[in-house]
Amino acid sequence: MAIALTESAEPPAQAPEDLAPEISGRSPWALAGRRLRRNRIALAALVLFLLIVAASFAAPLYANDVAHVNPFVNNLNGTTVINGHRIPLLQQGGGVLKLGETPIGPTWDIGNYFLGADQNGRDVMARVLYGGRSSLEIGIGSAVICCVIATVLALIAGYFRGVIDAVLSRLMDVIWAFPVYLLAISIATALLTAPAGLSIGPLHLVASSLWLPTVIIAFIYLPYVYRPIRGNVLSVAEKEFVQAGIAQGASDLRLIFSDILPNVVSQVIVLLPLMIATTILTESALSFLSIGVQPPNASWGTIISDGQSLLYTRPWVSIAPGIMIVLTVLALNVFGDGVRDALDPRAKLRVEG
């Protein structure tokens, strides 16, 4: 059965005429891949994102073999050697009163507190890399979970319609009705501050588990993915090839997963990078408010929060994770736009948090 990727199957307006015969012999996926490869900005964004992912997942390598630090253990009485002098990581204030303890600033020496130390004497660079791991794991994890669940629900609602569609759609409307951050903060406050964590049947998530913010963020964005996909499913379900399948006695499962799903999956793929960017931002916001990633884990949001009290004297503690968030979200958005242009050139889709 043909994949009715009708919108993206059309050749792009700017395609040279002499390529037309070649295009007609390729699958819509190959065409999309070709368009994406031609979009150098999108590819550059992908490379940037992959570099950030690689650097973040190399955090243990950096901490153990380059910086030789444990970024999760307080090191308030620690020292380091700079310019041949051993100095404490936290330096007492001067003057008569000697108020306060200020951590060392960036040394710009890759193996020795490159971005300085935080208020607990921990290596900021190592924490930013580890923080990236948490932020990316939660961002990607929640976006994938959200897209998978929303797609399944949208397929069920759009195919069966009637009561099932009404119930599912109204449920999504209820979630949609809440401002997204308000809902996230409410759920996170209730669950993450509950000392016993979250228990759903046999599943038990302790407060410090990364799965807890992942599940919360996936939940709050369900309607944002569900609604456009359901609309598409409603449209695809009316196409002739689906009607033909029904006439031939194909089962519901076959129709949903073999006929309809392949025709809406491109939309999910377009949504995914944009959702990851959105969920990373949400995770950072929640962690900044201390209701996302819990210590001893770190995320970019928690590091910014930790650096808040050092903004005047050690701004890099907050700036470094801030830059990482900006670069990651920017890269994902640019890449997401590229994917959308490649798969669905006429779409006007945007994800708004």
Partner: protein
């Protein structure tokens, strides 16, 4: 005796202060001078004269937020409001309104003298001063005190302070019924201006408790229900003019005030006291440095990265650092393994790196390591620290990991899982304890709860299985050793299933409790001897290690350049009304 921690509930202090005793007496004398030569014509008239040589001006405090909860003096339990209530209201007695150690001394206020208790310490007869008026012009009568004490139960306030009064036990449901009859426990004679308080049992701390704002007199026609956004009239040198929790509060002079005992209630210096709400603390610091306001509210934590600029000689005269009679500690769960084992408790006490904790708080200028329960400058205090490296057991110098590891081995608790519980602002302390526990062979993890729920959570015995080590802190209610030792570690302060069970560690040692009971009864007749027993109790409890006592904090006050007359009172901290503006 005090199941609801008072000042421990107020905003946490992250900074300290230097006690500027020099000149305090002279300044006090100036503050007390009944000169009546103020340039302000309106303020205070009266036989003793209420205006001082330095009277005048508007003193402006910047606070991040308004005092939480209702303003009702019977209920509000915050330093933020108490610092103002002492200037607008009076009790039978008062802590001496001076800086330094003398500030913990009880002096008569609306009572003309401190009575000697009779009936074995159960009856106190107060003679009330005549000719005193509330700020609304109403004449003060002894019967006003009866209403004041009854309101404690109908509003309600933290009733345990006054639950020893005869008849109080029948007022248990007064907050629901709105009715409380203390006529047999607080007997007023409006003819002879006397007030007699009858107790069910002797209470050596009654006078301290009468000096707290809960017992400050309000007119007898005041509503018996909680008053949220206004304050009933008082008898002090100032009165509440306006209050908007989103904007500011204003105190102006009480036209009916005159000085009757300058030690208890001197005339104030500023004509007007304004407290503005809503700035970030960093903005408050900038405003005070620039002379746009006079004080960063003492409960607002000055951000760590603004502290270094305060070390500059430019601000040297504006910054004051003073020791607080407070403890920052980690309670150990004495009911469950591993810390139901004395050796395990002692092991973590030896292993804790208190210098790291001090650094996390802001450094040695803002906190002093300690091992014992009682804070310095407190009745019964004698320096004692058995959990330190080296042979000097009067102060902490360094952790002793060798001894700690040996104790863990001997206790057979090595390798056990340990959960450290802390709140969000004090995350760093929890992280440090986790590191210290892991160093000596435990498998420690951290749970960080919102500060809004953490304190209730760790007090409730139903949650004992969910933590092994819990962060907490305690600021004195009043200067009495029992306020730390008995309240926080007495057998009578374990209330199963309650969120108000201040003996968090659930530590109960019968022998030590007997000594505490003995000290409390002896305090009625011989406070000095009682303090000797408290000293012994402090050291014995420290040996039993129900806590890891971390440090005693210090407080920073930042004032504008034009502010003079700074005095630090151990009970009330900065004495706002005694400051003057140049």
């Amino acid at each position: 005796m005090i199941p609801i921690p008072a000042i421990s509930e107020m905003p946490k202090f992250r900074s300290g202060r230097v006690l500027r005793r020099a000149g305090a007496a002279a300044l006090t004398a100036l503050g007390l001078a009944a000169a009546g030569c103020s340039s302000n014509a309106a303020p205070s008239a009266g036989p003793s004269g209420s205006a001082t040589a330095h009277a005048g001006g508007t003193y402006t405090i910047l606070a991040n937020a308004a005092p939480p909860g209702a303003l009702d003096p019977a209920q509000n339990y915050t330093l933020q409001e108490w610092q103002l209530l002492i200037d607008t209201h009076d009790g039978l007695v008062q802590f001496k309104r001076v800086g330094g150690a003398a500030g913990t001394q009880i002096v008569p206020d609306l009572a003309s003298a401190i009575p000697t208790p009779t009936d074995g310490g159960k009856t106190y007869l107060f003679h009330i001063r005549k000719g005193i008026k509330f700020s609304n012009g109403q004449v003060l009568k002894p019967s006003d005190f009866v209403t004041t004490f009854e309101r404690q139960f109908t509003v309600p306030g933290p009733t345990s302070f006054y639950s020893g009064i005869v008849g109080a036990s029948k007022c248990a449901n007064a907050s629901k019924t709105g009715q409380c009859d203390l006529s047999k426990g607080v007997v007023a004679d409006d003819q002879n201006y006397t007030l007699t308080i009858h107790l069910t049992a002797p209470d050596p701390e009654l006078l301290d408790q009468l000096a707290l704002p809960f017992a400050y007199v309000v007119p007898s026609n005041t509503s018996m229900k909680v008053i949220k956004n206004t304050v009933p009239p008082g008898t002090g040198p100032y009165m509440w003019k306006s209050y908007d929790p989103n904007s500011q509060l204003v105190l102006v002079r009480n036209p009916y005030f005159h000085v009757w005992n300058a030690q208890a209630q001197p005339a104030g210096n500023p004509d007007k006291i304004v407290e503005k709400f809503g700035e970030t603390v960093s903005d408050e610091v900038t405003a005070v440095e620039n002379g746009q306001a006079d004080e960063v509210y003492v409960g607002d934590t000055i951000p760590a990265d603004r502290l270094s600029e305060l070390n500059s000689p430019q601000f040297a005269s504006q910054v004051h650092v003073n020791p607080l009679t407070a403890d920052y500690y980690m309670a150990l769960n004495t009911k469950l393994p591993p810390f139901n084992n004395l050796q395990a408790r002692q092991a973590i006490n030896y292993a804790t790196d208190r210098s790291a904790l001090v650094k996390a708080y802001g450094g040695p200028s803002l906190a002093v390591p300690t091992c014992q329960i009682l804070p310095p400058n407190f009745p019964g205090y004698k320096p004692y620290c058995p959990y330190t490296a080296g042979s000097d057991h009067t102060k902490w110098t360094a952790p002793d990991l060798t001894k700690a590891k040996a104790l863990v081995k001997a206790s057979g608790t090595g390798g056990m899982k340990v959960v450290v519980n802390t709140d969000t602002p004090d995350k760093a302390f929890g992280e440090q304890l986790v590191a210290d526990l892991n160093k000596i062979g435990y498998k420690a993890s951290l749970v960080v709860l919102s500060s809004a729920i953490q304190y209730s959570f760790i007090q409730n015995s139903n949650n004992l299985k969910k933590w092994s080590v819990s962060f907490s802190d305690w600021y004195q209610d009043y200067p009495a050793a029992s306020d730390f030792l008995n309240v926080l570690l007495g057998c009578g302060n374990i209330h199963p299933g309650s969120d108000a069970s201040p003996n968090i560690a659930e530590f109960c040692n019968k022998n030590i409790q007997t000594q505490m009971d003995k000290a409390e009864s002896l305090a009625v007749t011989n406070p000095t001897a009682a303090n000797g027993i408290w000293q012994q109790v402090d050291h014995e409890v420290t040996n039993q290690a129900p806590w890891v006592d971390m440090f005693n904090p210090q407080q920073i006050d930042l004032l504008a350049k034009r502010v003079h007359g700074y005095q630090w009172n151990p009970q009330w901290y900065l004495l706002i009304d005694q400051l003057w503006l140049k």
